[in-house]
C-alpha cells in the first residue's frame, strides 16, 4: 500500500499541489494543504482506490479542508502587492512568472468558495454537478459562486478573459 500511495502522489501530486496553490496562493500553505488532505485520505486509500474514485476523494478532501480553514487570518488576505520579493520568488518557481503573479493577485480577490469553484471548474475540469459534490453544496450555489467569481476576475483587470461560453455559464 505504501508504494502504491507514493506512486499515486508521484503521479497526481502535481495536480493536487497546483489546485492547492491556486486556492491558497502560497507554496508553503499549498504543501500544508496537500499534506493534510493526504493524511486524512491515506487510511482509506486501499478501499477507495479499488474502485478508482480516490482522485475525487482526495480532491473533495482538499477543498473541504481548505474551506474549513476559512477562519484563519490568511484567508482572503493573500499578498496582492507588487513587492520585489514576491515577484522574485515566483520567478524562481515558474518561468511564466508574470502570469503566475497576475493569477495570484486576481485569485486573492475571490472569496474562498469562489476560489474553490474556479479551481475545480477550470483547473480540475469538473462539471457543475461534480463541483457541487466536491464542495458539498448545491449546483445552484456553484452557479452563483461561479458567476460572481468570473465577474470579479474580469473586473480585476489582471486577466484577459473572454465572455463565458454557454458551457461555463
Amino acid at each position: 500500500m505504501d508504494e502504491e500511495f507514493t506512486a499515486y502522489v508521484a503521479a497526481r501530486g502535481r495536480a493536487l499541489w497546483g489546485a492547492a496553490w491556486l486556492l491558497t496562493g502560497d507554496p508553503a500553505l499549498a504543501e500544508d494543504l496537500v499534506q493534510t488532505a493526504l493524511t486524512k485520505t491515506w487510511p482509506h486509500f486501499e478501499r477507495v482506490a479499488a474502485d478508482g474514485s480516490f482522485e475525487g476523494y482526495v480532491r473533495r478532501t482538499l477543498v473541504t479542508t481548505y474551506l474549513s480553514w476559512r477562519g484563519r487570518r490568511w484567508h482572503g488576505e493573500l499578498p496582492s502587492g507588487s513587492g520585489d520579493d514576491v515577484a522574485t520568488g515566483l520567478a524562481a518557481l515558474n518561468p511564466d512568472a508574470d502570469t503566475t503573479h497576475d493569477v495570484r493577485r486576481a485569485m486573492a480577490q475571490l472569496s474562498p468558495r469562489q476560489r474553490a469553484v474556479v479551481v475545480l471548474r477550470y483547473f480540475g475540469d469538473l462539471s457543475e454537478e461534480q463541483t457541487a459534490r466536491a464542495m458539498g453544496c448545491s449546483v445552484g450555489s456553484v452557479k452563483t459562486h461561479h458567476a460572481r467569481a468570473l465577474e470579479r476576475l474580469r473586473g480585476s483587470g489582471l486577466l484577459d478573459l473572454s465572455e463565458p461560453t454557454e458551457e461555463h455559464r
Binding site: T100, D125, S162
Partner: protein, 351 residues
C-alpha cells in the same frame, strides 16, 4: 470542457511544485500516528467504560446515587488531575481554531523524544490540571495572534510543549510549540500562532495558584548551596506563583557578594523561565575552575522556599532547582531567557 482562456491561464500560472514524495511520506507517517492514537484512545475508552461499570454497577445496586464529576476537573484540583483525562490522549477533531467556545485548556505532559521529528526534544516542565475559568479569554487572545509567520530568531534553551483545548461542542484542538519567539502550530488546520512562548507563559500564569498573602521572610545564605543531582518533583514550582523573591549573588570564593529583591511580576517570570528555558546536558565536571557567575534566586511558594541556582564556570551556565526539603534537580544548561530573567551582579574575577 475547459474555457480556452481561464483554464490555460491557470495551468500556466501554477509554479513547479516541491518534492511531493516528502509530502507523501509525512502524510503517511502522520496518518499512521493518528490511527495509532485513535486505537489507543479507543482502548483507553473501553478500559474506562469497563472500570466505570465495575465500580458504578455495585454502587448503583447498593443505591448510591453519587454523581461523578465532569471530565474537566477544575483549577482547584490541578495537582491531581491526570493529563489524559481531557484531550491530550485523544485525536484532535475541532475543525476551525478560529471558531467555537473554549471551555477548558490544559498542558499535555510529553515524554522526551516522543511525538517529534529530528533530534530528541526537551520538554518544558508543566503543571497538571485544567483551566476552565478564563479558558475562552485565553484562547481568544491566542486567536488574535494567528497569522502567517516567516521564520524566527534563534534562541538558546527552548523547550517543547503541547496545549490541548476543549470546546463546548466536545471537540478538541491542540497547539504545539517551543518556548521562545518561534511560532506554535495549531492542529487541526495547520495555523500558526505567533510567538509560542506567549502561549506557554499565558497558560502557566493562568494555571498558577494565587501567591500567599503572608510570604515567609527571605534571606540569602552565607554560601551558595552545594548541589547533587537528584530527580525530584517540581510540581509545586510549576503550579504556584511566588509570593516573594530574593536574588543572591556569590563571588568566586563562594562568599555572598550582594542581594536584590524581585517584584512579583519578575519573580513569576523567573519561575516560568526556570521551567522552560534550559537545555539538558548531562555531566557537570567540565570547566569547574573558573567561576564567572553564581546566582541564587529564592522563591517563596506558600510557606516554602524554593531555590533556583545558576552557576557559570567558564563554560555554559548550569541550572539547578532546589526543593524546600533540600533536594536538588539538575536541569542542564540555563537558556538565554532564564539568564535574562535572573538579575546578574556581573562577571566576577577568576577563581
Amino acid at each position: 470542457m475547459s474555457d480556452p482562456d481561464l483554464s490555460d491561464v491557470l495551468r500556466r500560472a501554477v509554479p513547479d511544485p516541491p518534492d511531493l514524495t516528502v509530502v507523501a511520506r509525512h502524510a503517511e507517517r502522520a496518518a499512521r500516528a493518528r490511527r495509532t492514537r485513535l486505537r489507543g484512545a479507543l482502548a483507553g475508552a473501553a478500559a474506562v467504560v469497563l472500570l466505570a461499570t465495575a465500580v458504578g454497577v455495585p454502587r448503583w445496586m447498593a443505591g448510591d446515587d453519587e454523581v461523578p464529576g465532569p471530565s474537566t476537573s477544575g483549577p482547584t484540583d490541578r495537582a491531581t488531575a491526570p493529563a489524559s483525562d481531557s484531550g491530550c490522549g485523544r485525536d484532535v477533531d475541532h475543525d476551525d481554531f478560529g471558531t467555537g467556545t473554549a471551555v477548558w485548556v490544559r498542558f499535555c505532559v510529553l515524554q522526551q523524544g516522543r511525538d517529534r521529528r529530528g533530534p530528541p526534544a526537551q520538554y518544558a516542565i508543566v503543571p497538571t490540571g485544567v483551566l476552565t475559568d478564563g479558558a475562552e479569554a485565553l484562547v481568544s487572545a491566542w486567536r488574535q495572534r494567528v497569522g502567517q509567520v516567516h521564520g524566527c530568531p534563534f534562541a538558546f534553551g527552548r523547550t517543547g510543549f503541547r496545549v490541548a483545548i476543549g470546546f463546548a461542542d466536545g471537540t478538541v484542538s491542540r497547539i504545539d510549540g517551543e518556548t521562545g519567539p518561534c511560532p506554535a502550530s495549531v492542529t487541526p488546520g495547520g495555523g500558526l500562532v505567533e510567538d509560542a512562548g506567549s502561549v506557554y507563559d499565558g497558560l502557566m500564569r493562568a494555571l498558577a495558584a494565587e501567591p500567599d498573602s503572608t510570604p515567609p521572610a527571605l534571606s540569602c545564605p552565607a554560601q551558595p548551596p552545594s548541589e547533587a543531582s537528584r530527580d525530584t518533583s517540581l510540581t509545586a514550582l510549576a503550579s504556584e506563583a511566588p509570593s516573594a523573591a530574593l536574588v543572591c549573588h556569590y563571588g568566586p570564593d563562594h562568599a555572598l557578594s550582594g542581594e536584590e529583591p524581585l517584584d512579583l511580576t519578575h519573580a513569576d517570570e523567573l519561575r516560568i523561565a526556570t521551567l522552560s528555558s534550559f537545555y539538558p546536558v548531562s555531566g557537570t565536571a567540565d570547566c569547574v575552575a573558573r567561576v564567572v557567575r553564581d546566582d541564587l534566586a529564592l522563591l517563596a511558594l506558600r510557606s516554602e522556599i524554593w531555590e533556583v541556582h545558576v552557576v557559570a564556570t567558564g563554560c555554559e551556565p548550569r541550572l539547578w532547582v532546589l526543593t524546600p526539603t533540600g533536594d536538588a534537580t539538575y536541569l542542564g544548561v540555563a537558556g538565554s531567557r532564564l539568564l535574562d530573567a535572573l538579575p546578574h551582579a556581573g562577571v566576577t574575577e577568576t577563581g
